[in-house]
Amino acid sequence: MANEKILEGLKAYNAAVEKTLAKSPERTNLEVNRLYTPLDIEGFDYETNLGFPGSYPFTRGVQPTMYRGRFWTMRMYAGFATAAESNKRYRLLLERGGSGLSCAFDLPTQIGYDSDDPIAEGEVGKVGVAIDSLEDMEVLFDQIPLGKVSTSMTINAPAAILLAMYIAVAEKQGVPASQLNGTIQNDILKEYSSRGTYIFPPAPSMRLITNIFEYCSQNVPRWNSISISGYHIREAGATAAQEIAFTIADGIAYVEAALKAGMDIDDFAGSLSFFWNAHNNVLEEVAKFRASRRVWSKLMKERFGAKKPKSQMLRVHTQTAGSMLTAQQPDNNVVRVALQTAAAVMGGTQSLHTNSKDEALALPSEASVTVALRTQQIVAEESGLADVVDPLGGSYYVEALTDKIEAECWDYIKKIDDLGGAPVAIEKGYIQREIQESAYKWQMQVEKGERVIVGVNKYVDKKEVPPKDLLRVDASVGEGQKKRLAALRAKRDNAAVDAALDALEEGAKDEKVNLMPLILTAVKAYATEGEICKRLRKVFGEYKAISTL
């Protein structure tokens, strides 16, 4: 059908709509057009816009067959209390069909404090597992074959230390570093803009990151040395387009840092991976995934001259949106997570964590985490969504939305480039302010009822009974960790620890030194994470946030 004909038809349709509207008006606050037609994707060119799965610009997915070969990695994020307790949960998840591990660390671990540091009071083992030394890491992966599973670790500022511990545990299991599979988040920029678990100022943080890139490319080649994360940016309130735009801008900064450190683009670009949020608006999310792949591949090919296809691929881990879970009527969350899962799968994710229904109230219980995993399995095995590659490709709406999100993304990238790149934009508070603005807008829409959240501002159950069986982290975890630390400090070779820490401190002073081997030595001597970070804090200093309100 030629465009003129469609236009004619559209006019007739609109006339008919006017009559309908007179009788029954539409809902207000609708953000999208009523109907999408070929007119909305004028200039659409299959070759340049989509291409084929597994090839540039990767709009339709990074692998040729996608889930027809193998499903995405069902990777459940878990970790709480002690290493022993988390180890039990990991083994349960693997036994129930989970295909990868994902470690959540508690806040003291994420910010480089030992469990016995006064600042850790009340936080030990709360949002993740407490890891103080290699000893804890050995317990965490006890009886888990590190040569076979792939492990993702949500760790950023002290990523080098936790990676070193992982390598050391593997070595004790007889698995060489070259065989290890997994990811460390290692994305400090979004910590400054959105998540808050930073330690050091940007410059030394970027150095640690490039140290890891370099070390991994030589010694742990199958490891994803960074997971450039939009997840937390979205959780902080960003829109879909902002999520991918700010994250890709961070990605540009990491690429530029590695290039500046003398690396070749095709030596490390393939080990960069991304992390998206799967939010509630299913089709917008699918479009977001597709747009992000297109933007990244263009950037890598055209701006950075990457030649290997793997360097041009945006491979992504996804987590369903924690901030969309409601404390009210928590059973509804199961449905939300199912829809978010559908979005991630139709969007072509490489791995997925599904949240549990009780996470607006507490960490997931064993029963609820099982339902969350089963949700993925149902989508994979029963829904048919995984049977066709990029099933929504060619939908007028999804293609138009993909184009729109891509355009918004490029606009932001240009703005951030003009400001001097993501680190400067963050330093100036630009990215934080954009996110805050969206977060506030969202909140006000919810409060005015312009945006409905079932069970919260509509269909409220006044007689709701709070759920039982929530997971509670035993308050004694902190005490237990303190005792373990005291025992460790008494039995290890403290002279070896001091020597390793001294060497690390010296190395930190010289920007040219790669700190990974020095950290590995310290970790193997059972230096604690807090001790290592203390030395690095001494040399690097600490980051202080700016006010962006």
Binding site: K544, I546, S547
Partner: protein, 311 residues
């Protein structure tokens, strides 16, 4: 609670309550200030101003730390604008100073402009006096240099420092005029950024044009977040303090500032008096109606009312 006794006895709670009394114009505020006045005039007052995002809070934090190292106690008054729409304000300057907040020798207070023009500088001046009587050796007033009221506030300082950053472009142009006259020293913060030389030359040129006599404002460069250049800034502050003292200008400045304050106070009292005795009378309402109907003219009425008040 006896606020005066508390402030003089170095009670932090009393100092905080004293500032609140002044800020909220509590009835007891005048009494408090009367009692504290003899105990003021000892602190050295530093005004810091500059455009938003110049790093004033960070610089204030670093200066305070350095003064603490030298055994001086420090008071900080951080002024932020009130939202003209809601009357509320977000006061976020402390965020850069949280690690000195626990220092016994530091007292930080955030104040919102609350939309009052003349009143604000009086309140800030009184808050400074409370901290002066409380025993702070150095008091830093930090404010965004965007409007006349902020300029008025920092004018009460002994030394006024203007903080600028490279690459802000138009912002500097916009505040250039006001800044020229009040800056005793200039600091280019974030001096590791591009455009430092250009900004430096611009400031030099402005200073040339203004043809300063006696004191030539020095231009320092800092990277406050890295503590770079902070010592040089303190040297410049001290040099200025020394200059003020030796040239007798400190006395003159303070006399000028006392005079301004006194005149403002009198004006404020007259304004209040007029509000009470003139505007709140029934006659006044009638007068307005007659004026509106052009039965009389405001020029004669103003003279009449003034005559009555002055009698």
């Amino acid at each position: 609670m006896d606020i005066v006794k508390g402030v003089l006895g170095r009670s932090r709670l009393a100092a905080a309550k004293g500032i609140t009394a002044v800020e909220n114009e509590y009835p007891e505020a005048t009494g408090i200030m009367q009692a504290l006045y003899p105990h003021t005039g000892r602190a050295y007052i530093l005004g810091i101003t500059g455009p938003p995002g110049a790093g004033k809070s960070t610089l204030t934090d670093k200066l305070a730390k350095e003064y603490r190292k030298r055994g001086k106690s420090v008071g900080i008054i951080a002024v932020d604008p009130t939202s003209p729409y809601s009357g509320g304000a977000i006061l976020g300057d402390r965020i850069r100073m949280m690690d000195i907040a626990m220092d016994e020798g530091v007292f930080i207070r955030s104040m919102a402009t609350r939309g009052s023009l003349g009143g604000l500088s009086q309140k800030t001046a009184d808050a400074v006096k409370v901290l002066d009587a409380f025993g702070c050796d150095i008091i830093i007033i930090e404010t965004v240099g965007v409007g006349q009221s902020e300029v008025d506030i920092v004018k009460t300082a002994d030394t006024t420092m203007v903080v600028l950053v490279p690459g802000l472009g138009d912002d500097i142009q916009a505040i250039k005029a006001g800044i020229l006259e009040i800056g005793d020293l200039f600091t280019i913060n974030k001096a590791d950024r591009e455009g430092v030389e250009k900004l430096h030359i611009e400031i030099e040129m402005m200073l040339e044009l203004s043809g300063s006599k006696g004191w030539r404002p020095p231009i320092n460069r800092t990277v406050a977040s890295e503590s770079e250049g902070v010592l040089e800034v303190i040297d410049s502050i001290e040099a200025h303090a020394k200059y003020l003292k030796e040239s007798n200008e400190l006395k003159a400045r303070r006399a000028e500032s006392i005079k301004t304050e006194l005149l403002a106070m009198i004006a404020e009292r007259i304004r209040r008096h007029i509000n009470k005795t003139v505007t709140e009378t029934r006659d006044f309402e009638k007068t307005i109606v007659r004026l509106q109907q052009r039965e009389i003219d405001p020029y004669s009425i103003a003279d009449d009312i003034l005559d009555k008040i002055l009698k």
